[in-house]
Amino acid sequence: MQTYKANIKILPLKELLDPQGKAVANNIGSLGITGVQDVRIGKFIELYLTAESKAAAESEVEKACKELLANQIMENYEYEIEEFQAD
């Protein structure tokens, strides 16, 4: 069994108003940063799991995203899976 680490990115759907992102975009100018066009704020999740193979880990992570971590009515998700060695 191998331990894998999944890096999961969850973002609100493009067509949805993201008030958090909007608040940041509206105020970031006060730092003197002027070129910001849009800000969208989501979640980043690190998930560690053991599985027989990378493919098996992938199907577990897919299930976790689909059924719990993201709500597809409001969010998109994407992930990368890498082998993980504990120190």
Binding site: P19, L68, L69, N71
Partner: protein, 277 residues
């Protein structure tokens, strides 16, 4: 209509209510089921589910039990049964912050053992009613369509709002006057109802939208839709009409002592329906 009640008068009334024993003190074994006194002996029983973080469960027990006279029982979320409640009884998911609203509001509560029974109850045609966090849980559990997002102003909003009854031929808002807006408090940060265009069309077609945010005259304005919900939706039911979810809190507006009984009007509509059946 606001009825002004001063603090002294409020304390006096509560004191006498306690003395007379009609006020139900909070049970010490808070999470064990207890039964409220049945005043009117309606046939239907009410089960109020308590999740870790629920905070409107006692209010709900009080209003359904002491004010409306249902036989009312608390159901701890770890229970894998509905405390003896049957097909003709109603399960209420009260407001609060189940599981700290972690991940998304209501997202984790659906894994509680009792939810399996609640879903089964709903699928068999039993009544399920979710308020505020309960509405969010029903959406996350797939018993109601759509989802509740962060309010458009990004803030927790706690105030009185007006609600337009959009449909009065269902068990929940049966016979309510559609021209008279109801006033009720809201208290939420994640109340912006969202559903895709197809889903919204279906809701409208099936007349599943029971309540919309409106102004005091019953007009749907951009301002009255304070949280930015799609189509100003405040409450919907499922296609079979046995599951109902709404963001505002009728249980906080159900006694003249609190200066507003519109919540009682709404809850009584369901009560009257059940008596008629």
């Amino acid at each position: 209509m606001h009825i002004f009640v001063n603090k002294k008068e409020l304390d006096r009334q509560i004191f006498y209510k306690r003395k007379l024993g009609t006020h139900k003190p909070i049970n010490k074994s808070r999470y064990l089921p207890y039964i409220c006194n049945s005043l009117k002996n309606g046939n239907m029983k009410i089960g109020v589910v308590v999740f870790p973080g629920s905070n409107c469960d006692d209010d709900m027990m009080h209003v359904m039990g002491d004010v409306l006279g249902y036989e009312t029982v608390k159901i701890w979320h770890k229970q894998d049964d509905l405390a003896g409640l049957g097909k003709n009884d109603c399960i209420i998911l009260p407001g609060g912050f189940s599981y700290g609203d972690y991940l998304r509001s209501g997202a984790i509560a659906r894994f509680s053992p009792v939810m399996k029974e609640v879903v089964k109850h709903a699928n068999e045609g039993g009544y399920v009613y979710g308020i505020c966090n309960g509405f969010q849980i029903l959406c996350e559990a797939g018993l109601l369509p759509g989802v509740l997002l962060r309010n458009k102003n990004q803030l927790f909003v706690s105030k009185n709002v007006h609600l337009k009854v959009c449909n009065n031929v269902n068990p929940w808002t049966k016979g309510l006057n559609r021209a008279l807006p109801l006033q009720m408090p809201v208290a939420h940060a994640d109340g912006r109802y969202h559903i895709g265009a197809d889903g919204l069309e279906k809701l409208i077609e099936n007349e599943q939208i029971l309540l919309r945010y409106c102004d005091e005259n019953g007009a749907l304005t951009e301002e009255s839709n304070f949280n930015g919900s799609v189509d100003a939706i405040a409450g919907i039911c499922n296609e079979k009409r046995n599951v109902f979810g709404m963001m505002p809190h009728p249980e906080r507006a159900a006694e003249s002592l609190l200066g507003n009984e519109d919540g009682k009007t709404l809850l009584s509509a369901f009560f009257n329906h059940m008596i008629a059946v």
